[in-house]
């Protein structure tokens, strides 16, 4: 699906990089532990998390991700948004909880499987 589809499904607000809403996301992960994202994630384009700090953005940059979704209505601070904007990563937030947000995306075809090995 496209990032804009993900945004619609989660009824999410966009904080930056609207230009990338047309980009394709083929899989996602939901995680609050950034070291686990760094260890196990491969080619997932979207990161859903309840953790809100700049390390989330840096982790997403390291993993070549396309967008970050902050769950449970957590608002990213300005420095987080600025860092994401500088690296072209779309930042979203949704009122949904992590489990629910992941479930909605999964049931709409966004799996946890990387398309490339």
């Amino acid at each position: 699906m496209k990032v804009k589809d993900l945004k619609e499904l989660l009824d999410a607000e966009v904080f930056c990089c609207e230009d990338n809403l047309e980009r394709q996301v083929d899989s996602a992960c939901g995680c609050d532990l950034m070291s686990d994202v760094l260890a196990y994630v491969k080619d997932q384009g979207a990161l859903l998390t309840g953790l809100v700090n700049p390390q989330v953005v840096r982790t997403a940059v390291m993993m070549d991700m396309i967008c970050i979704v902050f769950v449970r209505s957590k608002e990213p601070t300005e420095d987080i948004v600025a860092l994401a904007r500088d690296n072209g990563i779309v930042v979203l937030n949704t009122s949904k909880r992590l489990y629910e947000a992941c479930g909605i995306l999964y049931s709409n075809g966004l799996t946890g499987k990387a398309t490339k090995s």
Partner: protein, 141 residues
């Protein structure tokens, strides 16, 4: 063998929130050199975990990234407390990080294992009370 291209960074150990800036910069630099995305990702993740480690445990240090024709060497040197037991530190899940660091998404005992995971070889030279130097080599693919 021609001289490597060297990128040097001083890692500020005062602020965990800003940790990782050098790794982001390295990623940009390697992109400009036209290396493969897989190589860039491995180097930047290995360095990022190393940078986080230096900030968490050693109040910062110095990082040198040397780009050779066939490989990239990452040398992370700190004057921190040293690692008492390397075997223990290499176990996934073993951590001496504080709850504050854990609340920020790190300190779960994945740092050194991740650095090893993403490098082709890793050497740890450490002396308790003196400091630690980690050297990672990643082959250019």
């Amino acid at each position: 063998m021609s001289e490597p291209l060297v990128f040097h960074f001083d890692i500020d150990g005062e602020d965990f929130i800003s940790a990782g800036q050098a790794s982001i910069q390295i990623k940009k630099n390697l992109r400009r050199l036209g290396l493969s995305p897989e190589t860039i990702r491995r180097v930047s993740i290995a360095m990022y975990e190393g940078e986080i480690n230096m900030v968490i445990h050693a109040k910062g240090g110095e990082a040198d990234v040397k780009v050779y024709e066939d490989r990239i060497e990452i040398i992370l040197a700190d004057k921190g407390p040293g690692i008492k037991n390397i075997d223990e530190a290499m176990q996934e899940g073993f951590s001496t990080a504080s709850d504050t660091i854990r609340s920020l998404g790190f300190g779960a005992g994945m740092g050194l294992p991740n650095m090893k995971r993403y490098s082709d070889s890793m050497d740890i030279d450490t002396t308790v009370g003196v400091g630690t130097t980690v050297t990672m080599v990643i082959k250019i693919q």
